[in-house]
Structure formats: C-alpha cells, structure tokens
Symmetry: C2
Subunit: 143 residues, 2 copies
C-alpha cells in the first residue's frame, strides 16, 4: 500500500481502532474529535496527530490539513455529522476518497451516489449473526 | 435449516432486521423491546410475536417463552443489558444457543468463556473499512 494521508473524524471505538491500524501501516493519520478524552483510545504506538474540535466547522478541518488528505473517514455516532463532514471533504476540500460509517442502511445508496463509500455496522452485524446461525445449522445437519 | 424458535431482545435496527430475516426463513420469532415504537421496524411479512417489556425482568422473558427457545439473540444498544439477558438465557432458561451484540471488543473473550457468541459491529466495521482501503490500493498498484 502507498503512504496515504488519512483524516479520521470521530475518535470513538471505531475511529481510534482505524487510526491505530492505519498508523501501524505507516500512514500519516490525523484523528479529530470534539472531546479530548476520546483520544485515550489511541495506542501508544499511534504516531499520528490529534485535533480537538468540532468537525462540522471548516476551520477545524483546515487545521487537520484536510486539503492534503488522500482519504477521509467519517466515523462519528451521528449519521448527519458524518454526511456533512464527508460532503465537505468531497466538495470543499476535493478529497479523492471519502468513506463514512452509516447507521441507517437506507442511506447507503444515497451516499454512493454522492461519491461516499458507506460502511454500515448494522448490516455487517446482521450478516454476521445470520452466518453464525447458518453455519451451526449446517454442522447440526451434517452430524 | 431446521425450524428454530428464536427470541430476539431489542428491536432496534439490528434486532428488527434479524427478526425479519429469520421470520422470512420460516422460523418462529419473538421480538422483545421496552418501547412499542421499536416494533415499527418489523416488516409486513413478519409473522412472529411482539412482547413489550423490560427484558431484564425474568417475567418478561417468561412471557416470551424463553424456556422454549432454541436460540436467543441479545441486540440492545447496552452491553450490560445484553450480557444480563444472555446470561439469564443460559443459566435460568437453559437456552442451548445464545448470541449477543457487543460494543466493547474487549468483552468478546469473556462472552465466549460464558458460552455466549459475540458479534461486535465495531470490529466488523474496522475490517470493512480496512478491506476497502486495501482493495482500492491494490487496484491502484495494478493499474
């Protein structure tokens, strides 16, 4: 993988794990969160930056050098914040690749139409539960 | 797959989608939620039962006939509620298979030790984001 400059918005469980994983791969990472305590999820090995502030304010995104970003990932717990951040990244900062966590599966299609790659944890969890049920049933049938 | 009798605790986005999917497969499903409005996520084709009540009260679980369940899935937004419901299902109602949504990835090992199959949406989302990033980089390298 190339060295990417990645801005991660929201440093909760999901954001901090992504920041840690991408930092481990040697990528340049900036994590933004409105709460300083959120950064406690970053590992000791995390070598990126922390920006404390409201990511719906363009000044905060500028401080995170979003204009230089190869990739922006919006991971807050609020679909509307994630959409706003992702659209700002696409339109105002011309970021080539933008991804977003989305809680409401009905939004996925709209996100794709806007050039935002959605990841829906609920859909992934439904699939995971259904796969476990199917696999256990297959085992029971085979025994 | 065999016909299972499944009790789903929590009828939010995840619970209602699971209820709809399992009902579609012809399984007997009961969905429990403390809020009547949560059941609006159930599809018209949903042929299972709805039980309104607090699933941390054994009387509510008894009303859902948890003692007859082949499978219990705890899907609320609260890890502690899910753990309590899952343990009650295992110990008080001797349910053979119990699964739970878990938000804190650090709990997964403990759940397995207790005979509860965990599904962690955060872990799944991290994997999904990392896979998208890797695949796009691979494509860029190949071109």
């Amino acid at each position: 993988m190339k060295d990417l400059y990645v801005v991660i918005v929201g440093c909760g469980r999901l954001g901090s794990q992504l920041a840690n994983a991408l930092s481990r791969l040697g990528m340049g990472v900036v994590a933004i969160d409105s709460s300083d305590s959120a950064f406690s999820g970053l590992s000791r090995a995390y070598s990126g930056f922390r920006v404390e502030g409201d990511a719906t304010e363009p000044a905060v995104l500028r401080a995170a050098k979003m204009d230089k970003a190869d990739l922006v990932i919006a991971t807050t717990r609020d679909d509307n914040v994630n959409l706003m951040v992702a659209q700002t990244a696409r339109t105002l900062f011309s970021v080539p690749r933008v991804m977003a966590r989305v809680f409401d599966p009905k939004r996925e299609r709209m996100y794709r139409a806007l050039g935002i790659e959605p990841v829906c944890p609920t859909v992934l969890a439904v699939e995971a539960f259904m796969n476990i049920i199917r696999n256990q049933e297959d085992k029971a049938d085979a025994s």
